[in-house]
């Protein structure tokens, strides 16, 4: 499920200035990062912007990757940082707008109204952000517990606990019939 067997080798070549390796990395990692952003209730347009911003940041701090270490947690740690920054900015903008206009809408809830919700976002919507990101990394991106712990700057025990709580909540939600599998993998 995870085509990242030689991401580490590509990353090492990218650090040496190999453009072909950089392009290959962008093509292979971007879909996963984009899905990560979408799973965090970010609108499609914002997810594309965040993806570009993430790659610019990755490029800027590429020297911090240690050859031989797992590359995927490194990518996800930076993407997560970008997402958190984006969330903070959104909150600040929302607070500013509320001060100007009491009738303005909260921008954090905007994605749900944008009509861009896909199966993953709908499925993970009942979960808090910290559980959503862990489930996305572990079950959708196919990372190991150790890698998720690295990407989220937490411990393996903490990741296990979040997964357990998320599954408990998902079981409850899915049993209640809020989600059912469609014919093309779409969740409705």
């Amino acid at each position: 499920m995870r085509p990242d067997s030689n991401l580490e080798a590509l990353m090492a070549r990218y650090q040496q200035g190999d453009f072909a390796a950089a392009t290959d990395l962008i093509e292979r990692v971007s879909p996963q990062l984009n899905r990560f952003f979408v799973a965090q209730s970010v609108s499609r347009g914002d997810a594309d912007d965040l993806l570009q911003e993430t790659w610019l940041r990755i490029h800027k701090v590429r020297h911090t990757y240690r050859p031989g270490e797992p590359a995927l947690p490194w990518f996800y740690a930076i993407a997560r940082h970008i997402r958190v920054d984006h969330h903070r900015k959104s909150v600040r903008i929302a607070v500013g707008e509320r001060k100007l206009d009491a009738m303005s809408q909260d921008v954090i809830t905007a994605p749900a109204e944008s009509g861009n919700a896909d199966g993953l976002e709908a499925l993970l919507a009942p979960l808090p952000a910290s559980q959503r990101e862990v489930i996305e990394m572990l079950k959708v991106a196919g990372m190991s517990l150790d890698e998720v712990a690295r990407a989220t700057s937490s411990t393996v025990g903490s990741v296990k606990q979040k997964v357990h709580r998320a599954y408990k909540k998902l079981r409850k939600t899915m049993s209640a019939g809020r989600f059912r599998k469609g014919q093309s993998g779409e969740i409705s």
Binding site: K60, P73, H81, L123, R171
Partner: protein, 241 residues
């Protein structure tokens, strides 16, 4: 509904084809091409940790050299052989944690908060074991001076640590600030142990040990405040070349 059913649903989502536009990926590749040069990699973790410990030791020794080694002279061999190695070990653990905070995707064995708590508990335990003078003469007047002296020495140590790791990238700047402050606090305590000849239990337990949490909190607060300044933060200071 079983866990396997949830796994099946998530697997279906994971296998669904992505709809990223090739033009977007090409645009990203084109945007990094002009500045694509070989990057100068970070030194090994042990080198960075060693540098941090050395920086802290330098600040402690320089401070004590300026103020006088009165505490060190008054200590017996047991005190010296327990307190200073313990401080070095704590500085090594905290330095290593700081290095990990500055490198994305590093495995975290202990959270910065737990590290601060553990460091403080270890110091309190050690001080309570070694210092058995239960008088409290001039508790506040002398104590405040020690706290300020320790904190004043924690600031340059924390700044030096941040400077040494400026090429890193703190994914969580508040955690990194907390660890840098804790490291600086240990340098401050080291200076106090070398300098302060007041071995009253209450004085050491309260005013000397308080330097570590105070510095840790100050580091976290500074990092949190810097988040709100445009163009600030670790990402603004990184340089791959």
């Amino acid at each position: 509904m079983k866990d396997e059913d949830i796994d099946d649903v998530l697997n279906e989502v994971a296998c669904a084809p992505h709809d990223l536009k090739p033009e977007l990926l090409q645009h990203i590749a084109d945007s990094i091409k002009p500045s694509l040069r070989p990057a100068r990699l970070l030194p090994p973790t042990w080198v960075m940790t060693g540098s941090l410990v050395l920086a802290c030791a330098t600040v402690s020794l320089a401070g004590a050299a300026r103020a006088g080694f009165f505490g060190f002279a008054k200590m017996d061999l047991l005190d010296r052989s327990l307190i200073f190695p313990a401080l070095v070990v704590l500085a090594c653990v905290t330095g290593s944690a700081f290095v990990h905070e500055m490198i994305p995707g590093s495995l975290r064995r202990v959270s910065p908060g737990a590290l601060l708590g553990f460091g403080n508990a270890a110091l309190l335990g050690l001080f309570a074991l070694l210092f058995r003078d239960f008088r409290t003469d001039h508790f506040f007047s002398i104590g405040i001076v020690c706290l300020v002296t320790g904190f004043v020495h924690a600031i340059p140590a924390a700044l030096l640590a941040w400077l040494l790791l400026r090429r890193g990238f703190a994914v969580n700047s508040v955690s990194a600030g907390l660890v840098a402050g804790t490291l600086g606090g240990l340098a401050g305590v080291g200076m106090l142990e070398l300098h302060c000849p007041n071995f009253q239990t209450a004085h050491v337990l309260v005013w000397h040990a308080a330097v570590v949490p105070l510095s840790g909190a100050a580091g976290a607060l500074v990092a949190w405040t810097l988040r709100f300044l445009p163009g600030s933060g670790a990402q603004g200071r990184t340089n791959p070349g």
